[in-house]
Symmetry: C2
């Protein structure tokens, strides 16, 4: 009898705020460089530097901090005051040490899910920082496993749900990123639930797989346990 045994959830912007912190850091960065040119151009340059560095630095606040410093040097032709560099280091450090509060509804949803399914945290980003955020959130006990990965593709989901669950076909993946959480999980054979967050990093945007039989867009994470129960029930019929 087929059924859902395992639920994977994303962390940043699914369980707690993250992109809002990056936006805030972007804003503080533009403020620091306000005398050096048009904020829109500087912002565009920062985005370009971030994307260019993604292959080398990967995801996370440390790489973002290095990209902010590089951008500050570039847009000012090296004329940036070193106090600005010092401030950028402080912005990066704050991102890494910010206390983490679960988003509304998260705690109840994880509690319900962990009663009935194997719950796995699957997140990209910086290893130490993601572990620290999970610890700070107080949500660690709901998960039977935590997988911090450098990229989320279909192989990642197959591997994780084979290792900790009973395969991708009996797993749901839920998260706020269409590109990282939903589409590759569907490709792997999982069920995929989009839990929208008001802000989406441009790198994570993608079209919805409308009409896909295993896809749903939920209003919030509070709806996730009931949806998983429904899928699980329909599979077991």
């Amino acid at each position: 009898m087929s059924t859902i045994t395992t639920v994977g959830v994303d962390a940043d912007d699914t369980l707690w705020h993250c992109e809002s912190l990056f936006r805030l850091s972007h804003a503080r960065f533009l403020e620091l460089l306000s005398e050096h040119g048009d904020p829109e151009k500087i912002e565009a340059q920062l985005t370009a530097v971030e994307k260019r560095n993604l292959r080398v630095y990967g995801y996370g606040a440390k790489g973002f901090t290095l990209s902010m410093i590089e951008t500050a040097l570039e847009v000012t032709d090296g004329l940036v005051d070193t106090r600005v560099i010092r401030e950028i280091l402080a912005v990066g450090r704050e991102m890494l040490t910010e206390p983490i509060e679960p988003l509304p509804g998260v705690e109840n949803a994880l509690s319900a899910l962990s009663d009935r399914y194997r719950l796995i945290l699957i997140t990209k980003g910086d290893l130490l920082h993601q572990e620290q955020k999970l610890a700070s959130s107080g949500l660690g006990d709901y998960f039977v496993a935590v997988e911090i990965v450098s990229e989320k593709d279909a192989d990642t989901y197959r591997r994780v749900f084979d290792r900790y669950g009973t395969g991708a076909e009996q797993a749901v993946m839920a998260g706020n990123s269409m590109r990282s959480d939903v589409l590759p999980a569907l490709d792997a054979g999982c069920w995929g639930a989009l839990i929208p967050y008001p802000l989406v990093w441009s790198h994570e945007a993608a079209d919805a797989p409308l009409g896909h039989p295993r896809y749903v867009e939920l209003g919030s994470i509070s709806e996730l346990p009931a949806w998983v129960d429904g899928v699980s029930k329909s599979l077991s019929l």
Copy 2:
């Protein structure tokens, strides 16, 4: 019948050079700041900043780059030329993109071990960078699992050898760091083999557990397969 089923090996400075790259980067950093004071004092300050930041940045080249920038600002009272900051970013980027060559004897040893045991790579550091180094080294196929962890303590080894092997008591852990690879693995109940590398980061130094029944110091990784075979044989008697 008890026997050895699983062998864990460390990566940096066990399979390929790493500390030598950090030393080289230290040297280039001191050169860049040579007009700003006594190299020994600047070096001591860099080491202090690195240790202070370890809790927030963790291990790896990105955090080290941020620590170099912070040190440059500190030791010059903010008077450092921004060209120096640019150079530091370049040093960091080179550390992250350096091609990786296996150390002598590594390839043969891993080949022999992987024929007879489950071979697991267990390493600290930056997730993306360690994955990239493993890919660049060409050694990935020897391992049944790769665990990149933020800290190596006895719990880490218990967890990894439970998950991928048959428990710590039937596992050998081998690496160049007494403090990270050997002592906590012995604590967990593993057998531990030190494979010395000429340079040891001061943070990783510790006294040898002389007389410990499950500890050995080998001359090189080439001796590891025979030692593991010997342990395994003695256990099975």
